[in-house]
């Protein structure tokens, strides 16, 4: 493939920030986003006036979008974007912000994602999620993505021989990782037996296959390398990224995503292979998607996911460190912040600032995003390979 | 002279020695209505729609709007109602002289004959027999044909329809001509729907009571009740239709003033006045 895209050269990512998650909050999304932005500015030492770019992702910010936040938070910006791409928004925000800084359109771009959660907000979000959801899936009672992922999981199990124990192994490992993570909402260990016998949600999915919606925020800062060094900030370099929407539209059911189309090019651009990756964060709203990303990102061949899961261990000290803060399945899904959670954890691991479990000598990390079940499949996919800066 | 008559009437009404007998059926949606072949214009049955009943439509009051034909329930037929009377003077409810609305009545007891034969026809012979017992029919009297038909409370029995039409009693053509030409009566009244018999279409002329009575400027009363409470002679009937412009008739209140000194004939039933209504079957 001759069509190499530009490298990211002098653009780096710093300042991973998490606003602590809570199950329910009476605050609005603006509160959580403001908290994330304030913490980014505090840690980076950047004054508000020096911030000239902002990228926002949020479901519950309505009726505001990113532009409302500029006046709400008193920001005057040269560059502004709003990324409504669910679990892929972190990767996509990183790509947008990096090119803005690289081109000089902005010098410092804060990427923030956050949502509030009221007892009724999950159901209200579902009602207006997308036109296709309103017309063709919501009326069938699926109550959000549960039915869609039940279909996918059932199909995957039937086609590739995956068993409930395989998915359970991933969930148990992520819970083990989460027990060390200070912001995780799930604080009790999970055994495989508990996973296998939990309350059924939508066959074959059970309770621990599903994330817990909550309130919270995540953020990071994109700068030129010399700016980061000037401020003494630990940073990660961006080796390569990819983004693909509505991949394989004619597959009758989703068993592969955009990474299968574009990950080869991404590794080529980074000049590494999957075996070089030290730590992986995949978007985990259901464990079957973890396995799909593992296959599509080249860690094993199509259909060999179950075998891969059986052969590896996924804790931070395991043979394949995976979702080392616990992932959404154990930390919680704070709306759009779920699309940042994995990327923020990768930034922490490769910059040597982990908050919980430590991946030893994490020099290369891969974060993968997946999102927007518009109707029957996730439309967005993206991934980024980060390298330790210094 | 007439001043003291009226005063005397007032006193006797108050004391009950002149009784008021109500000859009128209650107007309700259940009361049967004359049925014509479907191709003909029909007479509206009585229908009533509430306008308000101490509710949001009118908090302090109750009232209704109703609709019906001029010939619904107990009603008066004016001469203009029939083709034979259409050109006569003073032939509609608004032009009939008011003096005609108060008149003596002769009550002809045909109850046994009607019970035996629903198509019973009143004949000249019957009239002559009646006169032998009760005297000559005075001019200007109502002739009221008592058949006890009003005691048929079941609307099906009251209508008495079968595949050949309605079967109710009435006068034959000769009897009507006799009453008009020989006795100059005021009009003819009956208990069934129609002054003519149910099968009168087949008489010559068809519907002779309507034809001759209205054709000679005389009147009709239908769906009367309580005729069994009246003496054969001596009652005064008050029958004043609504003053409808060019009206062919109207539902009305028909009252009889009856002196108590005159005994009413024995009745077949002891029950007091009943209204016609639906029989209520028990439903699941």
């Amino acid at each position: 493939m001759n069509n190499r895209r530009s490298a990211y050269d002098d653009v780096v990512v710093t300042t991973p920030v998490t606003v602590p998650y809570v199950r329910y909050s009476i605050r609005g999304a603006h509160w959580f986003l403001a908290g994330a932005l304030a913490e980014v500015l505090r840690i980076s030492g950047l004054g508000k006036d020096a911030l000239d770019g902002l990228c926002v992702s949020s479901f519950t910010l309505t009726p505001d979008t990113a532009v409302g936040l500029t006046q709400h938070l008193g920001l005057t910006l040269r560059w502004l974007d709003h990324i409504p791409m669910g679990g892929a928004c972190g990767i996509v925000a990183l790509r947008r912000a990096a090119r803005a800084v690289q081109s000089g359109d902005a010098t410092a771009v804060a990427c923030i994602a956050g949502d509030t959660n009221h007892p009724d907000s999950f159901r209200q979000n579902l009602g207006t999620f997308s036109q296709f959801a309103r017309d063709a899936s919501y009326p069938y009672g699926s109550g959000g993505p549960n039915a869609s992922f039940a279909f996918l999981t059932s199909y995957y199990m039937r086609t590739y021989g995956a068993r409930a124990e395989d998915f359970g192994k991933l969930c148990v490992a992520q819970r083990s990782n989460a027990l060390k993570f200070p912001y995780a909402l799930m604080k009790k260990p999970l055994s495989l037996d508990e996973y296998l016998t939990a309350r059924p949600i939508a066959d074959p999915l059970r309770l621990y296959d599903c994330v817990m919606p909550c309130a919270g925020a995540e953020a990071f800062l994109v700068l030129r390398r010399d700016e980061a060094e000037k401020r003494g900030l630990s940073y990660a370099r961006i080796l390569a990224t990819m983004e693909r929407h509505n991949a394989y539209p004619d597959d009758p059911i989703q068993y592969r995503g955009g990474w299968a189309l574009d990950s080869d090019e991404m590794y080529a651009q980074a000049e590494i292979g999957p075996t070089d990756i030290d730590v992986v964060a995949a978007y985990d709203d259901y464990p079957v998607i973890n396995v799909m990303q593992i296959e599509d990102l080249g860690f094993c061949k199509r259909g060999e996911g179950p075998d891969f899961v059986r052969r590896h261990s996924f804790t931070a000290d395991g043979s394949f460190p995976f979702n080392t803060s616990g992932g959404q399945l154990s930390v919680g899904q704070a709306g759009a912040a779920g699309g940042f959670l994995g990327l923020v954890e990768i930034i922490r691991q490769v910059t040597g600032q982990p908050l919980g479990a430590v991946v030893a000598e994490a020099r290369l990390g891969l974060a993968s995003g997946f999102g927007m079940i518009n109707y029957d499949r996730g439309l967005c996919s993206g991934a980024a390979i980060l390298a330790a800066g210094q | 002279m007439s001043e003291s008559v009226l005063l005397q009437l007032a006193v006797e009404l108050a004391s009950g020695s002149v009784r008021v007998v109500d000859l009128t059926q209650t107007l309700s949606p259940d009361f049967p209505q004359i049925v014509l072949p479907p191709e003909m214009g029909q007479a509206w049955p009585f229908r009533i729609e509430e306008a308000s009943r101490y509710d949001a439509r009118g908090p302090g009051w109750y009232w209704n709007n109703f609709s019906c034909s001029e010939h619904t329930g107990t009603h008066f037929d004016a001469p203009i109602h029939w083709i034979s009377g259409r050109h006569l003077p003073d032939n509609s409810t608004d032009t009939i002289p008011a003096t005609r609305f108060i008149a003596p009545a002769c009550v002809l007891d045909c109850s046994r004959e009607a019970a035996a034969d629903a198509d019973f026809l009143l004949t000249v012979d019957f009239l002559r027999n009646w006169e032998r017992r009760h005297g000559r029919i005075p001019a200007g009297s109502w002739i009221l044909m008592r058949t006890d038909w009003s005691k048929r409370l079941d609307p099906v029995a009251y209508q008495n329809l079968d595949e050949t039409g309605q079967h109710t009693p009435g006068p034959d053509a000769d009897a009507v001509k006799f009453l008009v030409d020989e006795r100059q009566v005021l009009g003819f009244g009956s208990e069934a729907i129609g002054t003519d018999a149910g099968q009168a279409f087949h008489l010559k002329p068809p519907y002779p009571c309507h034809y001759y009575m209205h054709g000679s400027g005389r009147y009709g009363l239908q769906c009367l009740t309580n005729l069994d409470l009246l003496p054969p002679t001596g009652a005064i009937v008050i029958a004043a239709p609504l003053k409808i412009k060019e009206g062919s008739g109207s539902p009305l209140r028909v009252l009889a003033l009856v002196p108590t000194a005159v005994r009413a004939p024995a009745r077949s039933s002891d029950k007091s006045v009943k209204k016609i209504g639906r029989t209520r079957k028990k439903r699941r």
């Binding site: 009602g127 009326p139 069938y140 869609s148 | 029909q42």
Partner: protein, 417 residues
């Protein structure tokens, strides 16, 4: 295997009646094309005129070539069940109250992948299924997959029964059971498994042939009902209204006049009094209790059927005033449909071809026989449609009306008398 439906036990009178809840009913305008076809009992999907792609969910342009020349075309619904699940949890009240609930993802032979309700007798994926579009309790099109071949007691499937108005074990009022259609309809509803059929009649002294025979059926109860008498309608509603699950309004006053052929308004008024005001009286008295019972157990209040006429669609001048009264009734029935919507009770409007009775005696064939029309009405109750056009003439006029209503108006105006 679907277990055959069992007659439900008598309702416990001290328990609160469950209030109706509905599946989500919001749809984009383009998606209402599916609803419009389901209303007529059809599964239709968008087909691109330029590249022939069949697509779903509905879109404003072809997903392949971006053409905006899209037509809704009937599909046979054959397809392959690719995956299935059983929901045990939902955030929607309607489904929460009806757990567990089967759903399927089906690849239709004509192309698109659909999410649909899944009949209990459909074998787990992979298997062949047939997909239908029904009007669901929210009044919108819902897709449901049934087994490739009919199975025993198929109609008794719990999920399917939520998308039909099946008379089985229900109580039905037929407002005029004296006409030939009324009589055969009572018999057809009894044969379809109704527990109780109230057979309404006005003017008891008019006894048409065959009517007394109805009272011999053990499920049938004759009830006096004159739709022109407000108090009578109110009285009957007071007696039986709280038990009526399906109301079929067959009362019809039909004469054969336009404007010039008959002096006076009396005939037209009588037609309006029964056909339009009769419907209004019935709806005012019977609809409230039916609305309250839209989710009242297995034998809930479920449908209101109006016997209109294809003349309601476009005036048939030889029966001009009658046509107008039916058009008035149609408009009112649309109002009734909106008022019933929150209760999940389906208003089914029937637009039959001229019925083979005395008032259509002078019309040439084809005319629809009462027994055929009764069967079509029962089929509509057991299916998913809400606008039914029985008989060849009705189907023909519907096609002409949909194609060009002004042309139909002209064609009817010059029809030989």
């Amino acid at each position: 295997m679907t277990r055959p439906l069992v007659r439900p036990p008598r309702k416990n009178p001290i328990l609160r009646t469950r209030v109706p809840t509905l599946p989500p009913g919001g749809r984009s305008r383009v998606a209402l094309g599916l609803t419009a076809a389901a209303a007529r009992g059809r599964l239709e999907l968008q087909v691109c005129r330029d590249c022939r792609t069949v697509q779903y969910p509905p879109r404003e342009a072809c997903r392949v070539c971006l053409s905006q020349r899209l037509d809704w075309r009937q599909q046979d619904g054959a397809g392959e069940l690719v995956s299935d699940t059983t929901l045990h949890h939902s955030n929607e009240l309607f489904y929460r109250e009806r757990m567990p609930w089967r759903l399927g993802m089906i690849k239709l032979d004509c192309g698109p992948v659909i999410v649909a309700h899944l009949h209990g007798d459909c074998a787990p994926a992979p298997s062949r299924v047939r997909v239908r579009a029904h009007i669901d309790r929210a009044g919108q099109a819902a897709l449901l997959a049934i087994p490739e071949k009919d199975t025993p007691n198929m109609a008794d499937d719990r999920q399917l029964r939520e998308m039909t108005c099946d008379p089985k074990f229900r109580k039905v009022l037929v407002t005029d059971a004296k006409t030939a259609l009324g009589q055969t309809l009572v018999e057809a509803v009894v044969a379809a498994g109704a527990d109780l059929v109230w057979a309404g009649y006005a003017e008891r002294w008019k006894k048409p042939p065959g009517f007394e025979r109805l009272s011999k059926l053990p499920q049938v109860s004759l009830v006096p009902l004159d739709l022109t008498d407000s108090r009578a309608v109110k009285d009957l509603a007071g007696e039986i209204g709280g038990r009526v699950d399906i109301l079929i309004n067959t009362a019809d006053h039909h004469r054969n006049f336009g404007i010039a052929a008959r002096d006076g308004i009396e005939v037209a008024r009588a037609e309006m009094d029964t056909n339009y005001f009769g419907l209004l009286r019935l709806a005012q008295e019977f609809a409230p209790a039916m609305r309250a019972r839209g989710a009242d157990g297995q034998s809930s209040a479920v449908a209101w059927v109006n016997l209109l006429s294809v003349f309601a669609l476009s005036n048939f001048p030889p029966h001009g005033t009658y046509s107008a009264s039916k058009a008035a009734a149609l408009s009112l029935a649309q109002c009734l449909r909106a008022e019933f919507a929150p209760a999940g009770v389906r208003v089914i409007n029937v637009f039959p071809s001229p019925i083979d009775d005395e008032w259509n005696q002078a019309l040439p064939p084809p005319k629809i026989a009462p027994v055929r029309l009764a069967a079509d009405i029962v089929e509509a109750l057991r299916g998913g449609a809400e606008d039914v056009f029985p008989g060849d003439i009705a189907q023909d006029w519907l096609s002409r009306w949909r194609d060009n209503p002004k042309a139909l108006e002209r064609e009817l105006a010059v029809m030989p008398r």
